[in-house]
Amino acid sequence: MKLTLREMILISIFAALTAVGAFIRIPTPLVPFTLQFLFCAYSGVFLGGRKGFYSQILYVGIGLIGMPVFASGGGPAYVLQPTFGYLLGFIACSYTIGRLVQHFSTITFIKVYSAVLLGLFFVYVFGVGYLYLIVNFYLHKQMTLQAAIGVGLLPYISSDLILSVLITLTAVRIIPILRKSGYSVSTFNSR
């Protein structure tokens, strides 16, 4: 991997933005939702697959060495938290979205929205899967997959779907400008 200085800085900034997203909590009647997913998806959209992937790895790495950048703290012990899977999901999500968006020659709402939804799908596959594994094999408690989905997916899915619309709406306007201005952090020539 050879990164230019500007790429390195953008990766760091998106890792920092994801951390900021964990602190912005929007109070809703049911579960408060954070903006981590939003910035994670944006990192894929704006930076492209490879760099988006690095930015999320960096974010998770910073949290794991003990900086309190996750929704509830940080530190190596976070690996044992049932919710750690979502963080792994963010890495996969950013990569997927970035890879797909990079290869779109024309940017339309439908295309970007389906890329974001696929990314979201990965967040939940990792998130709910990890939740299920941790509860059953670390905490040694019986939990059915249905119960895991009920706890880990249903309360959040509606707000995440709305966030996806928001991401797509802003992305379809910003990507063409980025590409035209040659800022092009997500053009085709990235390896």
């Binding site: 760091s12 920092a16 960096l58 190596p76 709305i162 802003t170």
Partner: protein, 267 residues
């Protein structure tokens, strides 16, 4: 508000723990955290607790700081305890409605909870006694051997430093933009979810513009100062392994030895 969030929990000091090489601290933390999983008897937990109290005292970190690091996780801590007490099968000691607390449950719950508390305390001790810069320096040096297989150790450490530097800045920026937009009539706290999501646009657009601008400015500033990666870079403060560090490894080795012995003899 947002800016109240304390980041980089570094607690400056001059204790033996503060003076250890960051590499020693990172390696010892990982080793010690893994050794916590060796404990499965009351005796082992007492030894662990005594040792943790000893290092907290050695680091001269006020106990209130330690408690504060546990605060954000208290829900999970209490939940772990309750789930284990009420769902483990065994001899029933207490009943509330359909829930039955069992003796085995209390034991298992206590163990799991104390283990979780130990894990959090030990890992936060690392960030309490090591400044973020020293920490990333240590990580860079630890990852150096992996350079041969293509891992960009210096770049990673640099990106970590930049990200850590920018988190407070971006938090402050977010706070400022929110207030500025609220003064113009933006509303972030009412309406249904759909409305709230749409109201985020006046926050997000300026935030991204400012983030990209800052990235550009920083890149220019670094290039103007002839930054060109880790190659042949010299440092003002070189990391050094001293007698202190070997002493720390020795003490850790003894503790792990004792834990292994306790595990084997007290089954």
């Amino acid at each position: 508000m947002l800016t109240d969030i304390m980041l980089g929990q570094y607690f400056p000091g001059n204790s033996l723990l503060h003076l250890l090489d960051p590499r020693t601290k990172i390696i010892s933390t990982i080793l010690f955290i893994s050794s916590i999983f060796l404990a499965d008897t009351y005796q082992a937990y007492i030894i662990l607790a005594a040792f943790i109290v000893f290092i907290i005292a050695l680091a001269a970190i006020p106990p209130t700081m330690i408690l504060r690091s546990l605060k954000p996780l208290w829900i999970i801590i209490v939940l772990t305890l309750l789930i284990h007490i009420f769902t483990t099968p065994g001899s029933i000691i207490y009943k509330i409605g359909p829930l039955a607390a069992t003796q085995e449950g209390v034991r298992q719950g206590l163990f799991m909870t104390i283990r979780l508390v130990f894990l959090i305390v030990v890992s936060s001790l690392l960030t309490f006694t090591t400044s973020p810069i020293a920490l990333t320096d240590g990580i860079e040096r630890l990852l150096n051997p992996f350079k041969k297989i293509g891992l960009p150790a210096h770049e990673l450490a640099m990106m970590m430093t930049i990200a850590l530097r920018f988190i407070p800045t971006l938090l402050e920026e977010t706070d400022k933009i929110m207030k500025a937009q609220m003064a113009r009539g933006a509303d972030f706290t009412s309406g249904n979810i759909l409305r709230r999501a749409r109201n985020m646009i006046p926050l997000l657009v300026p935030l991204f513009i400012s983030a990209f601008r800052r990235a550009d400015e920083l890149a220019t500033a670094m290039e103007a100062r002839c930054y060109r990666g880790g190659h042949q870079r010299t440092r003002m403060k070189e990391l050094q392994i001293t007698t202190r560090d070997w002493l720390a490894y020795g003490v850790l080795g003894i503790i792990i030895g004792v834990l292994v012995a306790v595990r084997i003899t007290l089954r």
